[in-house]
Symmetry: C2
Subunit: 311 residues, 2 copies
Amino acid sequence: MSLTVVGSIAYDAVITPFGERERMLGGAATHFALAASFFDQVRVIGPVGDDFDGQSWEVLQTRGTITDDVEQVAGGKTFFWKGEYHDNLNSRETHVTELNVFEDFKPKLSNEAKACDVLFLANIVPDLQNEVRGQCQQARFVAMDSMDLWINIARDSLVETIAGVDCLILNDEELELLTEAPNFVSAANEILQWGPSSVIAKQGKYGAALFTKEGYFALPAFPLATVVDPTGAGDSFAGGFVGYVAAHPERPIDHQLLTEAMVYGTALASFNVEDFGTERIVELTGNEIAGRVGELQQMTTFAHQPIVLRS
Amino acid sequence: MSLTVVGSIAYDAVITPFGERERMLGGAATHFALAASFFDQVRVIGPVGDDFDGQSWEVLQTRGTITDDVEQVAGGKTFFWKGEYHDNLNSRETHVTELNVFEDFKPKLSNEAKACDVLFLANIVPDLQNEVRGQCQQARFVAMDSMDLWINIARDSLVETIAGVDCLILNDEELELLTEAPNFVSAANEILQWGPSSVIAKQGKYGAALFTKEGYFALPAFPLATVVDPTGAGDSFAGGFVGYVAAHPERPIDHQLLTEAMVYGTALASFNVEDFGTERIVELTGNEIAGRVGELQQMTTFAHQPIVLRS
């Protein structure tokens, strides 16, 4: 078993109604790895700069994550993003995006990285995702994320990349934007014709929905009275979801397995938003995850009582 | 068993991406009654004008709904609303609101209406809801809806009215507006301190969440590739939900019963939006409802497989 992720490693500055951080470890690959490392050994591919410090390496290597494929660019600076959440966290404003070492990033995969069993392509330029995907021919499950930017400026590349993966994980509004379908249900159904055998519509605070050729599954988000910082929630979801698949090499990757994976993705995402950046997941324990999965089951289970309806 | 609803009976004109209707039967009490009548005999209280035609009476009386308390105002005109849905049905624009007979509406309850076992106060002026609630002293379950208008212009009356009911059913954003809480979870938890023993956060296409003093339950919406007209979905939800409670006089009104009721509310709402106005629910059968409830269970059930997490 081995799980490779390619994506951004970053320093983030965020302002939320609950406080701010001027410089914290972030990036899609970071959040993914921290969540997925509960399930399998993760190998991270992505660039950092000279400024990437010892504590950040340590966090990235939590639970044995291998960082041999992380390229430290001499003279370069780590990707930096600064954003602010408004309107009860419902909207996000980007103040600064400095691509830095990410601007000229060309993923170089070691043989170990290429030999991965499961691959996650975090949100980067679609052509790079496609190139990495092509190098990992043995992977029995490949999932990917993307964003509205690529839908708007690189749609053809994105569609081609999607055709080569098993699972597309996207926000519901991005699914609609990508397909021009009137809702995420018809959007996801259309994308199932493009190549992937599963599509996940992330719905933020409302939860997530899974579409496969076998069926449909939806899970509400875990109810939190306080959300401190939503940054990285989608990547933590992907980490829990893809990690769960990676942890079950003996099972077929079918609708049933993916529904179980959805629950772990949902649990990990819910922990992620309880504190800034990686702060909550870094201290998270397996027992806490198991507890929340049990709570999610309790919160979504109902007895189906037959009832005689009037006519 | 008897179920009374007070609320609007209307003629609606709507424009959606799928077509339009110039004049169709609508109103909160109408949509509620059509859904709830699958579960119990419904008694409707609300005003109509001289223009209320025979076919409309017939639809309102579907499955034995009693219209003796519907007041036909001589020389008056039935409430009229005209609206248009934009942006994949995500936003609604009101073109015309003619209150007509609704402007001077003072609910007059017959003794039979007052003696109801279960009461639903659809969205009308909070003071009128409160007055009707006060007249139905024997009701063992009273639920109510409201809207942003009353939160903005009659908040004190609304809060007082809420304090006197068992269950508040509101859109999640309205719950946030009402309490000024940052999210619907903390909003609902706050309202549980005001008097009601249950609060439902309706989330439109995402589903609905139930908060009681015993726990939390959430159910995604039924996935529809085509939504024709969302008008009345919330009232159909309330009809299925409240109707299910009314249909079980022998059971305590606890978290368990309300979770089951949520499923029927969700099923009824999903049928409502499949066609314009009342057109789908009028032809709906009990077998179709039972089938959809079964599908909802299948779509939300997952196996909780214990897994050894890495540390």
